[in-house]
Amino acid sequence: MGAALQAAAAITRREWSGTLRQPAEWLTPLAFVVGVALMFPLGLGPEPARLRELAPGLLWIAALLASLLSLPRLFAADLADGSLEQWWLSPLPRPLAVALKLAVHWALSGLPLVLLAPLLALAFGVEDPLPLALSLLLGTPALALLGGLGAALVLHARAGAGLLALLLLPLQVPVLVFGTAAANGGANADSALLLLGAWLAVLLALAPWATAAALSLMLD
């Protein structure tokens, strides 16, 4: 037990400092979201009323696309330098190692998005950006969990990034539907937020196991 906890702490520390030391890795998705958000008014016209109406959905789509950006690198570096094999040999249960890795990944890529999106919503003229922030707070971990699974599956694939998007976009539909419904407010917003939370709970319970199984396949 003690050894497993030690391993868990070591993995968390390594992931945290490793990612923090490469600002490009966690800043790029943020800059990407700002860039995409800038494209919307340029492409759709600067009319404030329409932008205000579309903003939650647009920002959700931008966040979803940004979550795809860092995925191809998620496990590839660990596979290349052998650390993935070391985790598999460590006393830590594999799904837990995957969950820790994904938690750190979310804290450094999803959480900044949750904080950034309300600011962008304000720039789009949304008066109350809180529902958007709440829906992203529940939605981005779900995206990270699905993304981890996809990243594990395409680890050895040629043309990984495009393939990853193709695999993940259909699977992310429920997150997007519930997330944007919650962010848009209105009569369904509360039930949408609850459904999003329920789906996140299901994914939290299942995705680390599936991801660990996929990684085991890729290590054989």
Partner: protein, 250 residues
């Protein structure tokens, strides 16, 4: 020791290949007769629909295609689970053989649906729950095929098999949620006309629909089994090269 069920022996290529060799001519015949009779009945004999006029006749292709597209994904997930659990190679072969046929029927569903939607709804496409989930199903199939082919290494399909199996299972688990979320999001498609309590359509229409469904099912079965035989033969041949490859190393 318990003796295995006699059906299990068909999991071995040595029994599967002769069995399908006998089944295939029958299935192709059934497909030709069913599709021929069903479409003749549906396109020429069945009465014109009271509300939709002649355009409804596309249903003799649309409805079987939609059924087959959905069931093929379920069958893929079934063989994926089977293969992951019991590691029989035939399960993975069948899983892969189902994907192109499923894709074909998913795309056919979309095309026939939008051809029907143009005169009936006045538009090729609406973002309705069923249409959107049909499109997502087609995307899931394409993703599965893309993943298995991208992960495969020459002469060793096992990694592609297992990655594909995991994806098929995840997709199958995700499908109910996906369908629920999309339905929750928007609903416009007309309800089902056939249910267990009876059907609300004319007898000739029903006969035509059932016959063409039978025919398309037979076609799907025949196509899947033919593809499975080819995949299996390719694998057996590549495995036959292993001893030679190992021998050349020594």
């Amino acid at each position: 020791m318990t003796t295995p069920h006699p059906l299990w022996r068909y999991a071995s290529p040595a029994h599967f290949l002769p069995l399908t060799g006998r089944l295939l001519p029958l299935l192709w015949l059934l497909a030709a007769l069913g599709i021929g009779a069903g479409l003749t009945l549906g396109l020429f004999i069945a009465p014109t629909d009271a509300q939709q006029g002649e355009t409804y006749r596309i249903l003799y292709l649309h409805v079987p295609a939609a059924w087959i597209a959905m069931v093929c994904y379920g069958a893929m997930a079934f063989w994926a689970l089977w293969g992951l659990a019991w590691k029989t190679r035939l399960a993975f072969v069948l899983m892969r053989a189902l994907a192109p046929t499923g894709t074909l029927f998913a795309v056919l569903t979309l095309i026939t649906g939008s051809l029907w939607g143009r005169p009936m709804w006045g538009t090729w496409w609406v973002w309705d729950a069923r249409l959107t989930s049909a499109l997502l199903l087609a995307l899931l199939y394409v993703g599965f095929i893309a993943l298995t082919t991208a992960v495969d290494t020459p002469d060793d399909p096992r990694r592609g098999d297992q990655a594909g199996a995991l994806l098929a299972l995840v997709g199958a688990l995700n499908l109910p949620v996906l369908y629920f979320s999309v339905t929750w999001w928007n609903t416009l498609h007309q309800g089902a006309s056939i249910n267990l309590r009876g059907s609300s359509i004319a007898p000739q229409m029903l006969a035509g629909l059932l016959l063409s469904t039978l025919g398309f099912w037979a076609y799907a079965g025949a196509a899947v089994l033919t593809r499975a035989r080819l995949l299996l033969q390719a694998r057996v041949e590549s495995e036959a090269r292993w001893p030679r490859a190992i021998g050349s190393l020594a």
